[in-house]
Amino acid sequence: MSIETSIQTSATPLGRDDLARLVAKDIKPGSFVNLGIGQPTLVSNYLNADRDITLHTENGMLGMGPEAKGEQIDGDLINAGKIPVTELPGASYFHHADSFAIMRGGHLDICVLGAFQVSATGDLANWHTGAPDAIPAVGGAMDLATGAKDVFVMMTLLTREGASKIVEACTYPLTGVGCVTRVYTDKAVFLTGPGGVQVRETFGCTLEELQELVPVPLTAAPAVVP
């Protein structure tokens, strides 16, 4: 078996839930984590309680529990996406400046974000298309991208038009510079950083087939990266 095929860990591309399960598996027990709005929120479905992972929400809470249902719904208890959530035992509340000090101060182990584009050096674009008629809205995206120790991106590898979202340089306005450490896509897991783009594993394609889709040089990651 060659290196190229040995990193193929799935015969087919991963669906959103399988990808969320994989991201969850890669989060170390005891971590403090912020999950972005949209696809990253799915990761919470696979964080089992016995792993002692604490979720942070930007609007002032650590120890966020699952989405609230029925009588649990409380308008004073929402997440960053303004969806009603629950609190877990050991939860804490704090004001907004403290909440962002938790991010900016490097206290979060991991944040998981969606993206429009990630560059070969880990630049992130995920907040604005730059279209002249678009109303810009940034929220906490820049703070998360800048502050967390590890920034994981979850996205499909290709746009609807078939273009790679991993690019040499982002064409959309940046969220953060050199901040992304890992990119989870339906076709592969990429490690980004000063050493260029490495591929940890592929799903439903070989490294060579992946290289044909992605316009930056790819190498297989040297060893198993947990």
Partner: protein
Amino acid sequence: MLNFVDTVADAVAEIKDGSTVMIGGFGNAGQPFELIDALMDCGARELTVVNNNAGQGDQGLALLIKEGRVKKMICSFPRQSDSWHFDAKYKAGQIELELVPQGNLAERIRAAGAGIGGFFTPTGYGTMLAEGKETRIIDGRGQVFETPIHADVALIKALKADGKGNLVYRKTARNFGPIMAAAAKQSIVQVSEIVPTGALDPETVVTPGIYVNTIVKVA
């Protein structure tokens, strides 16, 4: 000077045209709807409003914007699925927008209340939201200079106040309340309950009464 007033109308009566008004809340959590309605009724115009968002649906801040009372929004996340009143005003060129990354917004508000003249932060460095701002490399990281945001008035929702104006909040409705109370010249707070002085455990007070000017109980 701490005042307890009977109505939200009395609470906002001194707000003047052209004021900068901080409004607490993240989405609807912690948004002081009754005080905003009173601000609408009092007629103040040409307002600069500081809030995380730019109004949701057809209530509160969204209505203030719809009625053309807001000249400028300083916020982090104006565009939402139900921010149609802001969207319409923005696209018509009838409202000014200063977009600030959320953590910079919070820290700029905090800085104002804490007497800080400005600060360098890595958030936003290298992005279009840092364009035109002073930058430095500090400890090997690019950082952007941000200035405090002061306000004439803050409208805040808390859960309880005591006779000294000490406040406690409820869950994620706390959000911007404590930092806005410190940053504004006049802090106007609506609460669900006013308890006797001494009834709040001093260890659990979140906003000390020194930051609070006016308190009104709402149903």
